[in-house]
Symmetry: C2
Subunit: 245 residues, 2 copies
């Protein structure tokens, strides 16, 4: 088993060096933990790839906890110094909703097939960001997928920050104003029950539409919001997206 | 082993029902997978708690992949229907920086002890959100921890969306304007090399300060931004935070 110290007083075990039998792993890990304690190491990082999953229960016996996991590996940590800071894994989901209003003062709204309430309630088209996708791109993609309407990003006017979404993580739902580039709706059959252009004033006065949805539409129509900007020399446009007031 | 169907055509295995020996688990899982295939189940969810980690390698042999993990469990999934949608785990980290300007037109800036470049470069105080914390609270907390200055949230004026942060996840860095409530700096010794009140015009014209930092300070000082709002009847203020234009 090989490992290296990192700049934060921690130790990182080399994932490829776990190719020893479980019994040897147990005794090598035990000895190393004694060494690390003696050396005042703060934190140990142990990535266990799929081929070495039998080592997980052994590491767990020594007090290693799950830090995160993805597809074909788990990352475990052992805090040797009590209360040492462990950089957390990602904490949030990101979603986006599009306020799409045409020249006839109509807003594009959908009702979902799978919903918790019995009454159909109109809401904005939108959905979750795919990992690596810009917010503006996700809005345009989701609106197109759900409604067949192509759009152009104008501004970001609102967001909701919500704790206690899936698996104890939080969620941010951004609302953006989009300009429609075509009129004919082609709704997505799988998830969308109904998709219509609805008069904006009717939407804002409909008692069946939630105050939250009215609020976010008003914010998109009546204010400046944040606009996409560019900061020269900062990095690839694929990697960075900037919103400014 | 017990399991239930969910509303999305999937199956959820009961975590407490894994208390059988590894050999039995292997054969029971094998038989169940045959049943699920026959029943056109789309996706199988398998949460394995710490006491049953020896089952991970067995599930992996049948094609289960890691969905996520935290402290004392891993969640694995098996897509029985090819290309079935698997709701992703959290995708983002959230950080916040505070633009704190006093009545003398001075801005509160820090330089970090641990930095990649040799030159000290002044930047905004700030840091990462703790899970469950509001953005406005995190800004006030981080500024206080790093500088000893108590502040009051005024508005959110800018954010940077960045892909390719730790472990393939993305990051959003929000910039907020804060009003200082005291003047005397008590800097955090561990991470902060220097903390000073700096003339805003000097900051904006200093060639050693990055254009990005100048841009975000300008955005906070010269614009409307997004303000915190309240949507009556929506839910607990501890769970929700709303920003509107």
């Amino acid at each position: 088993m090989q490992w290296e110290k990192n700049q934060f007083g921690g130790v990182v075990i080399e994932p490829e060096s776990l190719s020893l039998d479980d019994k040897s792993f147990y005794s090598v890990l035990k000895n190393n933990i004694d060494t690390w304690k003696y050396d005042s190491v703060k934190l140990v990082w142990l990535q266990i790839n799929k081929e070495f999953y039998s080592k997980i229960q052994i590491a767990s016996q020594f007090g290693f906890l799950m830090h995160h996991a993805s597809h074909n590996y788990v990352m475990m940590t052992l805090a040797i110094e009590i209360d040492t800071f462990i950089p957390p894994y990602s904490t949030h989901y990101i979603g986006v909703g599009g306020v799409v209003v045409n020249d006839l003062n109509e807003i594009l709204v959908v009702s979902e097939k799978y919903r918790s309430s019995a009454n159909p309630s109109y809401k904005l088209p939108g959905g979750a960001l795919v990992q690596g996708e810009h917010i503006s791109q996700a809005a345009v993609r989701e609106v197109f997928e759900e409604t067949g309407i192509s759009t152009e990003f104008k501004k970001l006017s609102f967001f909701r920050h919500w704790h206690g979404y899936r698996y104890g993580k939080s969620d941010i739902y951004f609302v953006v104003l989009l300009k429609p580039l075509n009129h004919e709706i082609i709704k997505q059959e799988e998830e969308i029950a109904e998709c219509v252009w609805m008069d904006v004033d009717k939407f804002l006065n409909d008692p069946d539409i939630h105050d939250f949805n009215k609020h976010i539409v008003r914010s998109a129509l009546n204010s400046n919001g944040l606009h996409i900007t560019n900061i020269p020399g900062y990095g690839s446009e694929k990697m960075f997206e900037f919103f400014t007031s």
